[in-house]
């Protein structure tokens, strides 16, 4: 079966890859582009571990065909920090101990950043519903919610980073 040639933008870099017509964007990110920060927890869009940004929209990359990435703009966990400068959400996850095993964490951080980019002042309920597509089995979500609320406050400059 012949492969498809795809040119796309990943975290600001132009990337090219060949993919089979049945391959998902998640497969290509992990196996072709060696960007394993995006995780596979289910492959069916139910856990959010593979959350990425596609043309500014939050999506499960396991539900996007790799070929659909042609000409699109992709953002992954690897692009959230600017160099060694962590995004406030990444920092508050660390400060609040909002991760235990850390496997779901990339998906949560991409999703939380997407929320804060569009709503800098979410209520706790809004955070909980926005993140309802991301499963975490370790934390019971408490510290994750606190970390996101705290990052929002920091981004609104209501508090200074610790």
């Amino acid at each position: 079966m012949s492969k498809l040639h795809v040119t796309t933008s990943v975290n600001g870099d132009e990337r090219e890859f060949l993919c089979g017509p049945g391959e998902t964007l998640l497969d290509v990110l992990r196996d072709e582009l060696d960007m394993t920060g995006t995780k596979e927890g289910c492959g069916s869009g139910d856990c959010g571990a593979c959350t990425i940004m596609l043309d500014g929209e939050m999506v499960c990359s396991c539900l996007v065909m790799a070929a659909e990435a042609q000409g699109r703009v992709i953002g992954t966990i690897e692009g959230v920090a600017e160099g060694s400068e962590l995004h406030p959400v990444q920092r508050t996850f660390l400060d609040h101990a909002a991760l235990q095993c850390g496997f779901c964490t990339p998906g949560f951080i991409v999703a939380a950043k997407a929320l804060l980019d569009r709503n800098p002042d979410p209520t706790e309920t809004e955070v909980r519903y926005w993140l309802a597509g991301n499963l975490c089995r370790c934390t019971g979500y408490d510290k994750i919610i606190r970390a996101v609320m705290d990052a929002a406050a920091e981004l609104r400059q209501e508090r200074t980073p610790a």
Partner: protein, 756 residues
């Protein structure tokens, strides 16, 4: 956030620094099980049975082998015969032959999803295509999945040679019941007859899954020199080493296991599924082989926790003092025996003073995957039944359910069910803290109910090794062998830095492979911060002694004149009195004073103490749909001393929410064909963020006197009380007793309707 909370006694214990592996994990750089790749690696795939029970007449792999790109095929015939193998397996599983046959079926498949052949190929797509070319001739056999069905005399048998162990007389006929155990004290029947009030009821719950988000994955290379390298995420690399070596009949030292970051385990990664299969594929192909499970494989073929059917009769006198408990529980073990029935027994009534009890446990095999440990394995099921009965009994007597527990709680010096007296336990303190907490006296609205329950988990110690090495510039490295599943690197760094008198940031912690540090039992049993922590502290103390001796040499004084404080050696006698040498100073001169500075410590402590937890939960029940939602939740726990309080709270919160899921939503749903109807996260509904409120974690710190920093285990006990706590709350909100889990809306609605 980072200020020491006990400045008087500790500099670092009780602080909340950022975990050493944190930045890697929030930036996506940490390498988990499915992330690892080896050069020239093949991708494997596993053929799994579509039938819950069938004899394998033949497996024809010729067509698959002819597919271009296929490099190796393995079936059960490729596994060594293990009938006589005996292995030291820690708490992982029972019999090594059972474990091998679970990795790959021999003769029969025993559950839907049971592996029976595997392929390694140059791509995932080719491997998958090859699976479709394998012809299996099955003789489908009758199956059984339910516990009571499997116990029936006419039930289809998994094994013709399984005779129930633990009966007074050896049974004449084989059955699916693998074991019966019993412990008695006093005269239970007489005490129940004379009790002022009794409650008798049956409680049921289906199997549930641990639900870690990271699916199982490994890469194995069987090298030309006969040695194996294994990269995988697990709760114990040494455990993987011993299981792989024994199953494949190779020397343990020839198997090196590299621990990758682990994406959740909760007990489910204390065993192996893929590694021996990948090893055999690699041996045939002469290349590294990766095997991964998808989510449906994880549900169908990795370990659920036992489902249970539990009968309880509980009696008390008029003042609420418990006089007798008769508990009979049946646990589903899946295809092979394990340890959970024993754990269920010792977790059943031991947290109360009861003069008369009879606890009987049955372990039942059926056509479900081999069960695996799940956080306090064996405790939540029997605890749900006992605590629910106790809540009913308190209501019958008109006694507050927390007061009822305070009247009966065990205190230091009382006897455990396993025959040793309790040490410095804090159950009573937890109960009193719950009673005094504003949550317990807060008012409730219509359709709301409040529940409570209390629980015990034994915890564990066990063997651990750690080393502390001083770098040439004085930096400090801790090397240990316990996978960090929830922040344990941080607690190790805190304990090492506290002992050495240095900053937290001056310590790095490495989780080493099995070729790089001595043996440690797996991360489980709430043992790591306790036991491995002891090894770290001991090694750090030895390193201090070495550095004092080196300083004495440099000063030309007696080692007795060298004290250690604030991270440096201090001369206390002779002409150099008052001088100090930092770790860096000592390290810089190490070559002239005796060479590199390091120490390894191996421990096997048995002075661990159990954990106790008391939970309070408020629910709202929608009278139109029967949907129960958690309105408020508070968890109290005797945590010993919290080394890193945030990660202790995290264990309490995470355990509580797993228990809430168990109570409200989660269940293995087998259909009439013996197939799992919900092998995915959409239908196996675990709690999501919008289901929950904040989980208030109240740590009761009653230190363990046998640990230098007072550590008790904290990871497991918080999953135990939520089942009965949530059920009690729903019962109080609806007026109907909730005795069958999960408490799905249809079940609650049905019970409300039948009452009305």
């Amino acid at each position: 956030m980072n200020a020491p909370e006990k400045k008087d006694s500790f500099r670092l214990v009780g602080t909340r620094p950022v975990r050493p592996d944190g930045v890697e994990k929030v930036t996506g750089k940490a390498v988990f099980g499915p992330d690892y790749k080896a050069a020239n690696m093949l991708q494997g795939a596993i053929l799994r049975s579509p039938h819950p029970h069938a004899r394998i007449r033949s497996v024809d792999t010729k067509k698959a082998a002819a597919l271009p790109g296929v490099k190796a095929i393995v079936t059960g015939d490729d596994f060594p015969n293990l009938e006589d193998a005996v292995v030291q397996m820690g708490e992982a599983a029972g019999n090594i032959a059972d474990l091998a046959r679970n990795c790959m079926a021999v003769g029969k498949v025993l559950y839907e999803g049971h592996a029976l052949a595997a392929v390694a190929a140059t791509s995932e797509a080719i491997a998958q295509e090859a699976l479709g070319l394998i012809d299996v001739d099955y003789e489908v056999l009758p199956h059984v999945t339910g516990i009571l069905d499997a116990m029936r005399e006419d039930a289809p048998l998994l094994y013709e040679d399984n005779f129930t162990k633990g009966l007074d007389e050896k049974p004449e006929k084989p059955s699916n019941v693998s074991m019966r155990i019993q412990q008695t004290q006093g005269d239970t029947e007489a005490a129940l007859k004379s009790a002022a009030a009794t409650v008798t009821a049956r409680y049921t719950m289906p199997p549930v899954h641990q639900g870690y988000i990271e699916p199982h994955a490994c890469v194995v290379t069987w090298k030309a020199d006969g040695k194996l390298d294994v990269w995988c995420s697990s709760q114990g690399a040494f455990n993987v080493r011993s299981l792989v070596a024994t199953i494949l009949n190779v020397e343990m030292g020839h198997v090196r296991v590299m621990p990758l970051e682990i994406g959740g385990g909760f007990g489910g990664k204390t065993t192996i599924y893929l590694e021996p299969v990948a090893a055999l594929l690699s041996k045939k192909a002469g290349r590294p082989v990766r095997l991964t499970m998808d989510r449906a494989d994880v549900f169908r073929a990795s370990g659920p926790a036992p489902g249970a059917v539990v009968d309880v009769s509980l009696g008390a006198d008029a003042e609420g003092k418990l006089v007798a408990a008769d508990v009979e529980f049946r646990y589903s073990a899946g295809t092979s025996p394990g340890n959970e029935t024993h754990a269920g027994l010792i977790s059943s009534v031991g947290h109360y003073r009861i003069a008369n009890f009879r606890v009987t446990g049955w372990e039942v095999l059926s056509n479900m995957p081999k069960h695996a440990a799940y956080r306090a394995p064996g405790a939540p099921q029997v605890n749900f039944a006992l605590e629910s009965a106790l809540n009913d009994l308190a209501a019958k007597l008109g006694i507050d359910p927390l007061d009822m527990r305070i009247k009966n709680a065990v205190v230091p010096g009382d006897m455990t069910m396993h025959g040793t007296p309790y040490g410095e336990i804090g159950l009573l303190e937890c109960l009193e803290a719950a009673k005094a907490h504003p949550h317990y006296s807060a008012s409730l609205g219509p359709n709301q109910g409040r529940g409570i329950a209390c629980s015990y988990w034994v915890n564990y110690g066990g063997p651990s090794t750690a080393s502390v090495a001083i770098g040439e510039d004085g930096s400090v490295m801790v090397i240990e062998g316990n996978p960090d599943i929830g922040g344990s690197r941080a607690s190790m760094a805190i304990m090492a830095a506290e002992t050495l008198g240095i900053d937290y940031d001056n310590v790095t912690v490495t989780i080493a492979d099995t070729g790089s540090v001595g043996y440690s039992m797996l991360t489980g049993g709430s043992r790591t911060t306790f036991a491995t922590g002891k090894a770290v502290i001991e090694a750090a103390q030895t390193v201090i002694d070495i550095m004092r001796a080196r300083a004495a040499k440099l000063w030309g004084c007696s080692v007795d004149d060298v004290a250690w404080s604030d991270g440096e050696a201090r001369c206390t006698g002779g002409e150099k009195a008052g001088e100090t040498l930092s770790i860096g100073n000592i390290a810089a001169k190490a070559d002239s004073t005796g060479g590199p500075i390091s120490a390894e410590s191996s421990v096997n402590p048995n002075d661990f103490l159990p954990g106790f937890a008391v939970h309070i939960c408020d629910v709202d029940v929608d009278p139109e749909t029967g949907h129960a939602s958690i309105g408020r939740y508070t968890a109290f726990q005797d945590v010993g001393r919290a080394i890193h309080p945030s990660y202790v709270e995290g264990q309490m919160q995470g355990g509580a929410v797993q228990g809430i899921g168990w109570a409200l939503n989660e269940a293995y749903l087998y259909n009439e064909d013996g197939k799992l109807d919900n092998p995915g996260f959409l239908d196996y509904r675990m709690p999501v963020a919008s289901d929950l409120p904040m989980i208030d974690a109240v740590m009761i710190e009653k230190p363990n006197p046998a640990h230098p920093y007072g550590v008790k285990g904290v990871g497991e006990v918080p999953i135990v009380p939520p089942l009965a706590t949530v059920a009690h709350a729903v019962s109080n909100a609806t007026g109907s007793p909730m005795r069958d889990l999960p408490l799905t809306p249809d079940r609650i609605y049905g019970l409300m309707q039948s009452k009305a």
